[in-house]
């Protein structure tokens, strides 16, 4: 038996490390248990590595436009995959090291090993022993989901974590699942030189996002030579001499060197043991204070399946830490932005147009294309638009959807305003620096209110 803590956090991903830091900030004695690398999926196998490679991919794509801007390359640039991999790994290591520095600075004890919950106050850490604690935060995170189809266990079917470790660009890649991860990775490898095909079960790519964003994503990918097949379901996977073949339910067949299985993620329940923590449909059940059915045991982040995004995990981690230390706090998950990185970036916060129309009697839209935005035109990147959905009586902002460079930044302005219940009136009347891409937000709000001056009158 070792030191008793106020709080033991199982899992060093976004929910976990933030919960640990928050608890320590408020004076608790905290231990964080991590069997792998600090930073979880986000830092090591998800958000960060993909963003690093997407940056490389975008740079490659941009060089193709340089000639029109007057920059002439005598030899076109080529990709050194090993160097790209090394650079990505450096970025990851820098951030995981950063997390360790943060944890050390707040005197959080880091225990290395797999942890299993033994009881509400007891955690068994492999290689360390039993740890007693005031409260437990289970931030076990998530793992890639697998499809139960024959052949899915082939070594040529990669999960996102595997594909991010490749040091060679495959000649061809099948992306199974056209959600966020699938679309991002398709863009990476398409820019790196693979012939990419995306297979999606639903009728459109990014089925969970606003339809306008799915459309622009599909158009741009297609223009870059990515093959998109929607409304398709898979019967099985067979290995071939050069790679593998996807056998479709309608009898079709697609071949490629490698496949990526990106059909979503599911909570990783391995830390639960047989402690009796309640699980429903593969997700840990929690209340809005992040508490499970066991008093004193909390489960923020991907493990509860509410919103499987790193920033939502940060918010849930903080709420869980407060709740665990006796000051119950609800995780605010009403205005969670979601982003698809790439070119163009896609970002959303609030309701999609379809959702807004279903919930409200009257809805107005304001769409402002970047082609009408001064900054976009001057820099030559006019792809995309800002779309704002409002409830016209009071100008309440119901949803904002952005496609184009910088969408991942612009969406935060929208999220902030919506959270503070500012309306389209306030947004349209807030001065934005000119020229900036953010002006498109202001203009789209004005357009929704029928008073946009930078669009032709009707």
């Amino acid at each position: 038996m070792m030191k008793e803590y106020d709080l033991v956090v199982v899992g060093g991903g976004p929910a976990g490390y933030i919960a640990a830091l928050h608890g320590a900030l408020h004076g608790a004695s905290v231990a964080l248990v991590e069997s792998g690398e600090l930073g979880g999926t986000c830092l090591n196998r998800g958000c960060i590595p993909t963003k690093a490679w997407l940056q490389t991919a975008e740079a490659l794509l941009e060089t193709r436009d340089w000639a029109s801007r007057g920059i002439v390359l005598d030899t076109p640039p080529r990709l050194d995959m090993k160097a790209a991999l090394a650079s990505k790994d450096r970025a990851v290591r820098r951030l995981t090291g950063g997390v360790k520095t943060l944890l050390d600075s707040r005197k959080v004890d880091i225990l290395r090993g797999r942890a299993v919950l033994k009881g509400p106050r007891l955690v068994d850490v492999e290689g360390v022993g039993l740890v007693t604690t005031g409260a437990v935060i289970l931030a076990g995170g998530s793992i890639s989901a697998r499809l139960p189809i024959p052949g899915v266990d082939s070594k040529r079917v990669l999960l996102s974590e595997d594909i991010l470790a490749l040091d060679k660009v495959p000649a061809s890649l099948l992306v199974i699942g056209g959600g966020v991860i699938g679309v991002e990775i398709a863009q990476i490898f398409s820019a790196f030189g693979s012939a990419v095909t995306i297979i999606e079960l639903e009728q459109r790519l990014l089925p969970a996002m606003d339809e306008g964003l799915s459309t622009i994503a599909a158009e741009t990918l297609a223009r870059r030579g990515v093959n998109i097949r929607t409304g398709v379901s898979i019967a099985g996977i067979a290995e071939t001499k050069e790679g593998l073949a996807l056998l479709l339910a309608d009898g079709g067949r697609i071949e490629a060197e490698l496949a990526l299985l990106s059909v979503g993620r599911r909570p990783d329940l391995s830390c639960l043991g047989d402690s009796g923590v309640k699980v429903e449909k593969g997700r840990v059940v929690t209340d809005e204070f992040m508490e499970t059915n066991l008093k004193g045991v909390f489960a923020p982040g991907d493990i509860n399946g509410r919103k499987m995004l790193a920033h939502a995990a940060f918010a849930m981690g903080e709420a869980a830490a407060d709740s665990a230390l006796g000051k119950p706090r609800r995780a605010e998950l009403d205005y969670v932005p979601s982003v698809v990185y790439g070119k163009p970036e896609l970002a959303s916060v609030g309701r999609s147009e379809a959702e807004a129309r279903a919930a409200y009697d009257r809805v107005e839209l304001g769409v402002f294309p970047f082609a009408a935005n001064g900054r976009a035109v001057a820099s030559g990147d006019t792809e995309g638009f800002v779309k704002i959905i409002i409830e016209p009586r009071h100008g309440e902002i119901l949803g904002v959807h952005i496609a184009g460079a910088g969408a991942s930044e612009l969406i935060n302005e929208a999220a902030a305003l919506m959270r503070l219940e500012a309306t389209a009136h306030e947004l349209a009347d807030t001065m934005h620096a000119h020229p900036s891409r953010s002006e498109a937000l202001m203009e789209a709000a004005a357009a929704a209110l029928g008073r946009c001056l930078h669009l032709p009158g009707k």
Binding site: K278, K295, A359, D361, E421, E426
Partner: protein, 412 residues
Amino acid sequence: MASSVIMPKAGMAMEEGVIVAWLKKEGDAVVRGEPIAEIETDKAVMELEAEADGVLLTITRGVGEKVPVTEVIAWIGKSGEIPPATATATAKAATTAAATPAARRIAVEAGIELASLLPPPGGVLHADDVRRHIRKDATPLASRIAEAAAMDPGSVPRQEGSRTHKADVEAALSSRTPSSGDPQSTEDRRIPLTAIQRITGERLARSHAEIPSVTLFALADATRFLAVRKELNDEGSIRISVNDLVIRACAKALLANPRANAVIDGDGLILKGGIHIGVAVATDTGLLVPTLRDAARLSLPDLSLRVKDLAGRARARRLRPEELEGGTFTISNIGMYGGATSFTPIINQPQVGILGIGALEERLFLEAGVPVVRTMLHLSFSFDHRALDGAESSSFIKAVKDLIERPLLILS
């Protein structure tokens, strides 16, 4: 009352004296006649004696100080007493903002600390100062909705310590009585259902559609039942409600009628081993039914305390998820609202029965030719006719009725 120790006028001509030494310190016990200080007068150094028993509470003048005669130099009193001078000093130190009664009331209702408001020129906080603060403290959306409805955002009740949000204004609007609202407004107003209301609504609709439900009605003579309850409350420390006693009666009735404590399972019926009774609680966001586990095994005081705890936490939205599940039977009370005498409760799937408690009603009966007044309790029992037939269902409601009419059996 603390008594003062003063610089004594030790001679006709003495105007002031000097404190040479304190022989006691603050907090020491002193006895009448005991020397507590040495004073230098115009003639000599003398001892100053305590004139009362007690504790030397405070020393207000120190060694070496020249003090005019009859001025206070210390206080003696009971331990813990606050001598007058120090009391005034602390009071002066803690000044609260001067505010009119109306300003205070509005601040209290809005959960604002008056001290957090800047005192206006003139120094007194008026109602409008507080309202202005609240108005500024409303989100832009909330302000617009309130103004559109001709409602002062400053008058909207809101969460303590928070700004006025859209949800607060909408709640205030939906609870506004017609007479106080805009008399000219005949426009429809859409109020969104809460999440609890939506989910409950779906469940009720499904239950209503799927279950061939029949409701039996019964009247139980509750005259003795109420007398027994009154006695229990007069003697006991826990306040037992009519509901508590009916729940216990119901649990016993279920023990004797296990088919009513069952759950439909495809083409079979699972007779549940435990008796876990769901108690319907109305909250401001919808109906919640927390489960009282092992109702038949609980003592009456335990049952009463648990029901109170569950109901309280239901209203505060602090129920754990598992407390809303696992019920084998449900009880719902409509009598307590006044208005209705009885009703046809909807079965809480997948259970097979639900007991409805209605109103208490006085009725006139003839007993041996003499008119008597008895207080009757309306009961209703809705059951899934696939699981229970007429005889079985009657047996259950009769069991409940019998227990109410012979209330001592509920206590056993």
